[in-house]
Amino acid sequence: MLHRSKGKVLREAIIEWLIRICGISAVVFVFAIFFFVFWEAKGQIFSGKVNINTATATALTKVEGIDNALADKIVAQRAQIDPKKRNTVNWLLEEKVIDLEQFFEIESQIKAKEFSFWKFLTTEKWYPASETNPRYGVFALIAGTVSVSILSMLIAVPFGLGSALFISEFCSPKLKETLKIVIELLAAIPSVVWGFIGLTIMNQLIMQIFGAPIGITVLNGAIILGLMSVPIIVSIGEDALQAVPDSYREAAIGLGVTRWQMVYKVLLPAAKNGLLAAVLLGIGRAIGETMAVLLATGHSVNNPFDGTFPFLHALESVKTLTATIAAEMGEAPRDSDHYQVLFIIGILLFTLTFIVNLSADLIVKGIRNK
């Protein structure tokens, strides 16, 4: 009788271990993403204190008794100590570079700039590049993301679900195949190309149609994002509709109702969770999209919501959370306040999309278990 050779058995054991490790890699990557995005932002989150860097040297000169020369000296000397081991301000005091009074002055200066998550979320002032007084409030950026996402969903949800219904219920098998391929191609268009379309074609269109001075606006970004989100809503929505057993349809048709009545009395209630998941995934895509909104919504930090009609001013430019990271990361030196704050925005986005995707997944699983 033939026996498997030792080498073969050993090789298989190694391969199976490799496979196991690869399987676990997905978990490792999720943790790694979380860890590294946190790690780069840790200075702001944990110490709560801003470093004295070149940008704040100018601010130091505002403290009584510290002139330009001393401020430069402080910054220069700080560069020689390891900021991880010693708190800069305490060091200045110990080394008698500054006296106690100046110490408190600096402390209060710093206190004013201390990172507070609440302040970060709720203030509108986003001046990361200011020499004298940089401020990091992301409220306007959140408003930008929210406005574009909401408006894009107003476009994408009806069109997406309508198309899903048409493809699933109203068209011939041949047309269905073709449409599904078209949707797949639509989903494949890179986001930077969508952004380019927004920047060139949509920009002109909006300026001409609405007579607006500038065409790269909330509306522009929303239309582009809407078109980008439609494919995902259609394909997930169509899956949800296909999951409704044919017996439901036959029973309804057997009762003599029209197809349209069958759709909205039987099909929609039966598939509503799956359709909800489709919409959620569309929202997740809209929130996380970067290049398209970077190019299509303009560059001004601006809250498009206000109390006056129509509450959402779609013809204003905004800047979204994602676009801010993409546009500003290149200019932010590593470990500067600006750099770390951009990573905090990253954490915010990660958390937001995590919640959206998780809920969509739970909803879909709920259907499957029923």
């Binding site: 009788m1 026996h3 498997r4 050779s5 073969k8």
Partner: protein, 254 residues
């Protein structure tokens, strides 16, 4: 007739999937070189029993097995080389499965995976197995066409040829005739009668008459319990020890 030493000895075998107990402790012995029939209605644990015998039940994550199986006096569960052990047991599933390979490769698949590389040796083995399974004459001119393109009955005989390809000592057939026509069934029954000379055969069957035609001894399983085991003629003669057996073989239920 009691053989000198049992080929296969099962002691107090229990199987559960999660919380659901499907076999409640059965014991029996199978002497070498005979056909051992297993009958019983659906859900009585017949397939699970076979999966324990060739230890593929280990691929089912939540299955729990206790008890003991001895092959030639050796403890099967303690054998280190599980793949080597499985090769001593041939298995034929209820539905014919032609692997999506050529007919030749279907049969040569197992020997190759154990390191048989010599072309002449393989050719000879493939021919022998296909002949034993009464399929050679029908396929000898198209050995390189796909196994999946054969008819159901031919695929089932291909499955048997494949099971023979690793030269097993025990051949298990699990309701092999469920998806094939009566003519092919009779052909395979003839095959089994010949194979009996060289190996022990466990025949799980849904046709009680098939057990009567082929098996020397027969076991009746019901809901995972062994109701009766004994000489086939006695069990089918109407005066079996257990009245349930009489009812079952006469078609009262099942």
């Amino acid at each position: 007739m009691v053989a000198s030493i049992a080929k296969l000895k099962v002691e107090d075998l229990k199987v559960a999937y999660g919380d659901k107990q499907v076999i409640h402790g059965i014991s029996y012995e199978i002497p070498p070189n005979e056909i051992f029939g297993v009958i019983g209605p659906a859900q009585s644990g017949k397939t699970s029993m076979l999966r324990v015998i060739n230890r593929t039940i280990e691929f089912t994550p939540n299955a729990k097995v206790s008890g003991k199986i001895e092959i030639d006096g050796e403890d099967a569960f303690r054998m280190k080389d599980v793949y080597g052990y499985r090769r001593r047991i041939g298995m034929v599933a209820p539905l014919p499965v032609g692997l999506p390979l050529t007919i030749y490769d279907n049969v040569a698949f197992a020997p190759r995976s154990f390191g048989m590389k010599d072309k002449d040796q393989l050719d000879a083995l493939v021919q022998k197995c296909l002949e034993q399974a009464a399929l050679w004459d029908e396929v000898k001119d198209r050995l390189d066409s796909l196994g999946t393109k054969l008819s159901g009955g031919q695929q089932q005989r291909l499955t048997i040829a494949r099971a023979l390809s690793h030269q097993p000592e025990v051949l298990c057939l699990d309701e092999f005739s469920i998806a094939i026509d009566p003519v092919t069934t009779m052909k395979i029954e003839d095959v089994l009668k010949e194979l009996r000379e060289s190996m022990t055969i466990i025949l799980v069957t849904n046709l009680v008459q098939q057990a009567r035609r082929l098996a020397k001894r027969t076991m009746f399983l019901l809901n995972g319990e062994l109701v009766e085991e004994g000489d086939t003629e006695k069990m089918f003669s109407g005066d079996a020890d257990n009245p349930k057996t009489n009812e079952f073989v006469s078609g009262a239920f099942g």
